[in-house]
Symmetry: C2
Subunit: 383 residues, 2 copies
């Protein structure tokens, strides 16, 4: 595990823990993310667990002979195996974490769904999908429950945004290697957004939700702030640190990708991409900001591709959960992203050099497929 | 002219004028817009004057025999005739007010371009196009010059928005008839936005500018504030007061309109709609806000249609200026909007009942064409 503190501030906080437990608990949650001594940072994306009541909740779309023994516990087992196999530095849950309409107790479903992440002691982050609030717990209630769980870095909303739509908009900074000249810089920026559930004006705009101006404005200001810090001394960089954005509902721009320019499959029924029926401009906002190199969505369980548009990789993770629609014979899967730093000539690690991804299938060997480079410093700037 | 004050506050300010001239001057500019005793409010839209140096600046795209005597002064004459014929309550200039690259002195060009409005004593408002800043005066400089001119209600930017992109984002409220139960309510809301000039990230996104998240967030908050006031007592209304939005560059959504569902013509070359090459979501933001019934753009001189999409009329004004590209034989034109209040059973005027529009051509009789109802209270809510 490469999540380490290291600053004097942190040592002070640890000492204070002996006296003040609440601060200790807060410090534990806020422990900064950081690249490890090996110069890499790995993120496991888990999309659409659709967790409900555990053992009594049946699977969907598995072979008939699997039904008798298949439940939410298969989702749990897959998550445990993925964590064990990949040993990620961060686990990101991109919504529909629970299928709340089938959940007897949403809080318990959330606890059970995230249990493997919690017990792994690996930091994790979550955003909401369109099914998380389909019980007594509202979207705000679900997010408030999540942020209290152990080892999560999730936030209900950023403290610096006085007004923002949705719940679960925040960012995380990943520092350079401890002891390197980048140790006090965020060399990788992670953005988490609430893409909503359904249209707030269904009589005019049908269908799914979208990322609102308040959220885009917050993203834009955050991106600018991070870019100012990254391009300032010491180790002033010319280009912004790469960013990755995680949210549930795909953008309408994914419709312009096809198998000639993506890796993976697009086999979701209907129109193939279940975005909002309107464009709310977040793709334009990200391109303008200039730092986001890849976007990771869930929502469409049967799509698992990555394709590049105007300099940004748009990626699905494929469906993870067993109590979620899927295809019998088409394995549940998860996406892994590995970000590697540049080895400096004088030794030590520098800024981000490359961002790679692959998926793993829930089969006997957790088969890795579709390995690809999403971004590399040498090819930066090509649309 | 139906722009009257009427409140005690206003009487006080007028008295203070005798003592403090600066406040008097400010009060003159800030005199609130209001429906007149006839229950109507008329707006003249002037798109793309493209003013430069006046008499020495030649016309474009007129018949060869007209060239010798045709100049910016034809634009001035057309504006004077329009003001005389329509006697509007407000004149709105939707950008490319000057064609600054052909202007010897941008400030003088602005003064001359707006001169007929200034001397008419009718309040006027302006936003920027993509050509207004093509001289020594920046976009900020042009807007700062405009707001100092007489009788304008233009603002550089709203005071309540701490951060906003562009110059010339503001709103105006039009009060109900003095003495009616709506006299202290804004029954018609006007939004003015800076749609930018060109892409700020041309290597990734080519072409024209767009309305940014900061502006959309301001619009959204302003719309919410106005709706709260309108639906509050006294005379608490169920629906928001109708809004009209004015900005230069058309939205990409106009591409989905065609002659089967619009009134007017679409004869701009190339792709027919010179919007930004990306969607920045402002159409979605307006539909979500729920109050804007019509949008008025310029930019494409050869388009003059209005077409309805998802409950919002999207309108061009057609080209107005003679030092702007056009078509010889296709008259320069302007759009008029007339908003009428509902006559109450007990007498007096109520809320807005209908929004009508027509255009006038710069021919001998200022021929009115394409009269149509853009919105009426009875048909509200139909997409």
């Amino acid at each position: 595990m490469k999540v380490v503190g290291g600053s004097n501030f942190f040592v002070g906080v640890v000492l204070l823990c002996l006296i003040l437990f609440p601060i200790c608990s807060l410090a534990e949650k806020k422990k900064p993310l950081r690249f490890g001594k090996g110069g890499s940072f790995k993120i496991l994306q888990v999309a659409d667990m659709h967790y409900a009541d555990g053992k009594t909740t049946p699977c969907e779309n598995v072979f008939p002979e699997q039904m008798a023994t298949c439940s939410d516990l298969n989702t749990t087992a897959f998550l445990e195996r993925m964590i064990h196999a990949e040993k990620p530095d961060l686990i990101v849950f991109t919504g529909d974490n629970i299928y709340a309409s089938d959940s007897t107790d949403a809080a318990k479903s959330l606890d059970a769904a995230f249990a493997p992440a919690i017990s792994s002691n690996i930091p994790w982050a979550a955003v909401l999908g369109n099914h998380d609030q389909e019980s007594a717990l509202s979207r705000e209630g679900v997010m408030k429950h999540i942020v209290k769980l152990n080892n999560t870095l999730s936030l209900v909303n950023p403290v610096e945004a006085r007004v923002i739509d949705g719940f679960g908009n925040y960012n995380l900074e990943v520092g350079g290697v401890e002891g390197s000249s980048f140790e006090n810089k965020s060399v990788l920026n992670l953005y988490f957004l609430d893409s909503g559930d359904y249209s707030t004006v269904p009589s005019m705009i049908p269908g799914y939700g979208w990322i609102k101006p308040s959220q885009q404005f917050w993203f834009e200001r955050t991106s600018k702030r991070l870019q100012r810090a990254y391009t300032a001394k010491p180790e002033a960089q010319k280009e912004p640190a790469p960013g990755l954005a995680y949210f549930h509902i795909p953008l309408p721009e994914l419709k312009s990708l096809d198998k000639t320019n993506f890796t993976g499959v697009k086999q979701e029924g209907g129109i193939g991409i279940s975005s909002a029926s309107v464009n709310s401009g977040f793709f334009t906002t990200m391109v303008s900001a200039g730092d986001v190199k890849a976007v990771f969505n869930g929502h469409d369980h049967l799509n698992d591709f990555c394709g590049k548009l105007t300099g940004i990789q748009l990626c699905y993770a494929g469906g993870f959960g067993y109590h979620a629609y899927g295809l019998a014979g088409w394995a549940r899967r998860a996406r892994v992203v590995e970000v590697n730093l540049k080895k400096m000539e004088k030794g030590g690690w520098g800024a981000v050099n490359s961002i790679k991804t692959w998926k793993r299938l829930d089969d006997q060997h957790l088969t890795a497929i579709d390995s690809q480079v999403l971004w590399s410093k040498s090819s930066a700037g090509t649309p």
